[in-house]
Amino acid sequence: MRLHPLTALAVAGATAVVTTAVASWPVSIAVALAAAVVAMRARVGKRVMPAAALILVPLCLSLLVVHGLFFPEGRIVLAQWGPARITAEGLEFALDLASRTAACVLVLLVFSFTVSVPDLVSALAARKFPPQFGFVLASTLTLAPAIAARLDRIRQAQEARGLVLRGGPVSRFAALRLQMVPLVMGLIDDAGSRAQALDARGFGAAGPRTSYRAIEDPPGQRLFRAIALILAAVAVAARLWVSWPAGASL
């Protein structure tokens, strides 16, 4: 059975929200491991893991340095050199936040690497989302490789005319300008003609639209989606109820 894109989105979003609301590192690590297993089962593990590592490794290192060494609120001091002190509270805080972020990032990456973007776009359009949103989402994801290839061609053309990246900041900046200006100029020109073509086909018009792509939305999944969203709402409400700051009376 194929998952409706909105079901997958609701599950991923609800998982991330519940993990944030629960805020305990064993739960976060369990969620992160579960997301990794799902990624492996869905055969996107080889793409999700490097992407997640690229995001999480610098963040975790930074958290470890900031909270591991400097945590003025900490009381249990494990070691101390001058102004830097390793405190148990600081390490626990770093672990809490790193595991929570890791869980959320992995869950959302599994969603975005498994979802079919055309399906997601038509599912959103069927729910009265502005059609321009679907256009921007799908168009960005298809334009990215095309623009990268175009930049490569511009660089080759400029290198054929003698562009060399070297020297101080000024000459480097001049070389950058030689690549950026033709790229931006060409893209804005292209966008102008694309706008005319889209307008001629009624893109900017108000009113209902029909979709070429019909996506099955079985009632079982609708119910599942509703339950996931209610669970997330309950988790948020419980967290707000438990730790509403005493001083706030808004």
Partner: protein, 277 residues
């Protein structure tokens, strides 16, 4: 009279509804920020600020989505088509700057470019949409959608008030934008992630923490050191790109023509040109 061959125009009621959504979106972002600063946890050692994280995520994302829903349907097609281009440019130009060995972190050239060419509303929508679209590859940018929208909005305001007519005014506008955007994004970095993603910025935060600042204060101060400089550079690059474009390209945008965003004489319209020839 509407003939069956033409599509109906959106009425004033739809425009009013969009205006209300726009105001609600901006109010959600501003309200969330004020609430977070007023209720920031006294002692973060008691837990990972889960309450503040949920409020920050919810309020800022709601504001960003409201802004998108309000602004996007009202934009002309020529602007909507430019948004994906700007989003890719944000990333491609950032990587290009990185590969050139210049020590800057630049990720919003495309957003500022759109704001200069198409106005504050388009800039805000581009900023917010950019965060949502790129969260497909890096979910940690999603919570910063409100800050990105603010950058686009302020860049558009700067362009409307003529800051891009003179080359030396652009970095000033960028500096001010950086201050505001940094301050608004700091609660996200503090409460949702507990820090910043870079080792260099992390070192600055550590220094302020070592002096006994709260986490929010330390990250806000770090943002006030890094962001204004970064945005000043971004505004300069966007200004250089806009100046380098031929007038045929820039003056096709009604916003540029109406508010005389760029210095110099407005080119003669094509019809008048043809009549004169």
């Amino acid at each position: 009279m509407s003939s069956p061959l033409t599509l109906p125009n959106a009425g004033p009621a739809a425009a009013r509804k969009r205006r209300i959504l726009e105001i609600l979106g901006a109010a959600a972002i501003a309200g969330t920020y004020i609430f977070l600063v007023l209720t920031q946890p006294e002692d973060i050692a008691n837990g990972p600020a889960s309450f503040s994280a949920l409020i920050a995520l919810g309020g800022f994302l709601l504001g960003a989505v409201l802004l998108i829903v309000a602004v996007l349907p009202g934009l002309p097609t020529s602007t909507v088509v430019l948004i994906p281009v700007a989003l890719v440019l944000n990333v491609v130009l950032g990587q290009l700057m990185g590969s050139s060995g210049l020590p800057f972190y630049i990720d919003s050239v495309g957003t500022v470019l759109i704001a200069v060419l198409a106005g504050p509303a388009a800039g805000a929508a581009t900023g917010a949409l950019g965060s949502i679209v790129w969260s497909f590859f890096n979910p940690t940018v999603l919570p910063f959608a409100a800050g990105a929208a603010l950058i686009g909005f302020l860049a558009g305001l700067a362009a409307r008030s003529g800051m891009f007519r003179r080359f030396y005014l652009a970095p000033v506008a960028g500096f001010v934008t950086g201050i505001l955007a940094g301050v608004v994004s700091a609660p996200i970095a503090a409460f949702v992630f507990g820090g910043t993603a870079g080792i260099g910025t992390g070192a600055i935060v550590s220094a302020f923490r070592a002096m006994g600042d709260t986490l929010l204060a330390a990250i806000t101060k770090q943002a006030l050191i890094s962001d204004p400089m970064d945005k000043a550079i971004v505004f300069v690059i966007a200004a250089l790109l806009v100046y380098a474009l031929p007038r045929r390209a820039t003056y096709q945008f009604p916003f540029v023509r109406r508010f005389r965003v760029l210095a110099g004489r407005t080119p003669v319209p094509a019809e008048a040109d043809a009549a004169g020839a």
